[in-house]
Symmetry: C2
Subunit: 114 residues, 2 copies
DNA sequence: TGGTAAGTTCGACGTACGTCGAACCCGCCC
DNA sequence: GGGCGGGTTCGACGTACGTCGAACTTACCA
């Protein structure tokens, strides 16, 4: 009752897209870049956390999710009881035109040298 | 060996453009981003080191120049006795299409908010 | 032949960052 | 109800990074 003032308490607020420096720092870490890449592959929809990383512990991954959210690159939601992240493609493209797509392309070419 | 083995000893070799991670890291530092911005403003030609930074010591600036060179973003030359840096626009654009221009644009808009 | 100015290199130092395990929370479903 | 799997938070720890001043090199100039 008195505990929750609003029906949906937003414990994980969506941040505005941060400045170039912070966004570049967020994207510069290999683990985070991979998360963003998978999010992009997922077609822009909310994706369960567990599908987004390999090789690091849950706590480390959670920390990276937080960093990405604070840079405004992703937002959190809960779908069917699972915590999910979504890439804010449109918002990021508007704030920092071209950066996300260029970085994603470069990352893809690194992975698939073709 | 007191003498140089080759007539033109390249003490400061030009590096190939590094991978996305290293380039993003290089660009993520505010001091380095400013250096790159000024280099870009200079029209792509070699620019004396002293014109490229404010607020940090010479040794710190020299360290940042080295980081940029190792990421393949810049190269060093000597013009009229002065040490100069040049932005490798074409090479970076070919290796990582769109990234440099997008970052530069975002940095400019940060500095000149329209 | 000094002297000065510009750059680089070399430690040193403090802070920020990535990483982990443990503890905790929350929904599910046996 | 009790256990379980997925996430988050909280220290703690080690390393990487940005910063500086001092020392050194080189080039230029009086």
């Amino acid at each position: 009752m008195s505990t929750s003032p609003s029906p949906e308490a937003p414990a994980y607020p969506t941040h505005p897209v941060a400045d170039v420096h912070q966004v570049l720092s967020a994207l510069a870490d290999p683990v985070r870049l991979e998360i963003v890449r998978r999010l992009s592959r997922a077609g822009g929809g909310p994706t369960p956390c567990a599908h987004l990383y390999d090789g690091v512990s849950k706590s480390t991954a959670s920390h990276h999710f937080k960093t990405l959210r604070e840079a405004g690159l992703t937002e959190r939601s809960v779908e069917a009881g699972q915590s999910c992240q979504r890439l804010r493609v449109a918002e990021v493209e508007q704030a920092l035109p071209g950066i996300l797509s260029a970085v994603l392309r470069a990352a893809d070419e690194l992975t698939e040298p073709q």
